[in-house]
Assembly symmetry: C2
DNA sequence: TGAACAATGGCGCAAACGTGGTATTTAACC
DNA sequence: GGTTAAATACCACGTTTGCGCCATTGTTCA
């Protein structure tokens, strides 16, 4: 039973969809894919909308090569839609855009890789194999940008000298509880919470609960 | 002038530091690096602390290969320190840990790449070349994890049907202003702000300013 | 033309908040 | 043994908030 399944997988051709508005480039790529053993490109489209019309009548693709600069719906917006139709499919972005916004949005939307059109065609085939093997193929420059994005997430985590108890209270504050509710939850009096809150405000240099909550999120304390 | 600079770069050996507590592995790697044309490993250490003692007396390294599971200071904490001493150096993590927390922390701290110790030694040499070329070498599995992290950043941006004016007021609320202050800033009455706030609470299903602010950050609205 | 919605303005009141104090107990650190 | 910091608790006062209920104006769209 398990053996059969494996055999089936091995024998089955990997199905790849192409969404790319440049006809020449699309045809070249499609040809290249079809000429690669194990890969097949049964469908290719010049826009997302065109592709969506075929989702019911066609076999599910294993990989979708998706451009960003498309007529009509952008590739970025297309990612989410394709994910709805084919949750198991790997979506590889293939575009000329390498700006931070496009990269960030595409990856947040669930792209499994990000290639640039200046890549050699063989590199694209390699990337398809890589994503099928559980990887995340990226152009070298893109990978660098991606790592750089991480450094912006944790600026420095300023230490305001909050005690453990204060952090605990801050968390309940963020949850939207009133002082009385916080006191009840921690089995301490309303007055104690009041005092802690005063100290917290002092340490964070704010004077409202709203200001404190904002500061926690903006400088991701806690 | 420019030509000289290029020539200088080409002629200069790329200097690599090794921080790795397993002596056998460290020596193997150092040997491999020294045997690679253009690369040289003048220093290798078994802990971050040991390396920090040499920062004044040695030439700046171009690349630092850094383990995470070290005696004393962890490699994660070491990244920031090395970055202080050598802002231009590329730090490559080389470890057995592939859990999300370590990967995330390392990248936030400014690592330029993340390799696993099960990689073939030649792959490590390749990675050094890649990072010098402006890339971000990553193990295939790690790259996949990294992209997956992005999908968690933007859950879906639920639309609560906030109007533009409401968003504007929400922003000032987040800034920590009181209703009166918001009214003054927008040249509208306190009562109007009151009404808007009521509507916002209704749409966001909260009933305190703190709850609203938290919701905005948690589901990154606005 | 009429419905729906956004933005504006208003009143009253109980509840919650921010801030100024003071004070005790306990644990930690020279 | 004295100092310091953290956690606990209380009070009083003025400010701010949340929420009920209502009304007007302008725009958009069927």
């Amino acid at each position: 039973m398990k053996k059969n399944l494996q055999a089936e997988k091995v024998n089955k051709q990997i199905s790849i969809w192409l969404v790319e508005d440049n006809t020449r480039y699309r045809k070249t790529l499609a040809g290249l894919i079809d000429r690669t053993p194990g890969l097949v490109c049964p469908q290719s489209f010049s826009s997302c909308e065109e592709a969506f019309e075929e989702v019911q009548t066609s076999e599910n693709p294993d990989v979708i090569l998706l451009d960003i600069g498309l007529p009509g719906m952008s590739g970025i917006a297309g990612i989410a839609k394709f994910k709805e139709f084919f949750p198991a499919a790997h979506i590889l972005i293939l575009t000329v855009y390498d700006d931070n916004d496009n990269v960030f949005e595409a990856l947040c939307a669930g792209a499994s890789g990000y290639l640039l059109k200046d890549s050699a065609p063989e590199k694209i085939i390699d990337s398809i194999q890589e994503v099928l093997a559980g990887g995340a193929p990226m152009n070298m420059k893109i990978a660098h940008k991606v790592l750089e994005m991480f450094t912006h997430f944790k600026p420095k985590k300023t230490d305001y000298g909050l005690t453990e108890r204060e952090k605990e209270i801050l968390q309940l504050l963020i949850a939207g509880l009133t002082k009385q509710q916080i006191g009840d939850k921690l089995f301490i009096s309303f007055h104690t919470v009041n005092t802690h809150l005063k100290n917290i405000y002092g340490k964070l240099h704010v004077n409202t609960r709203t200001g404190a909550v904002s500061k926690v999120y903006k400088e991701n304390l806690l």
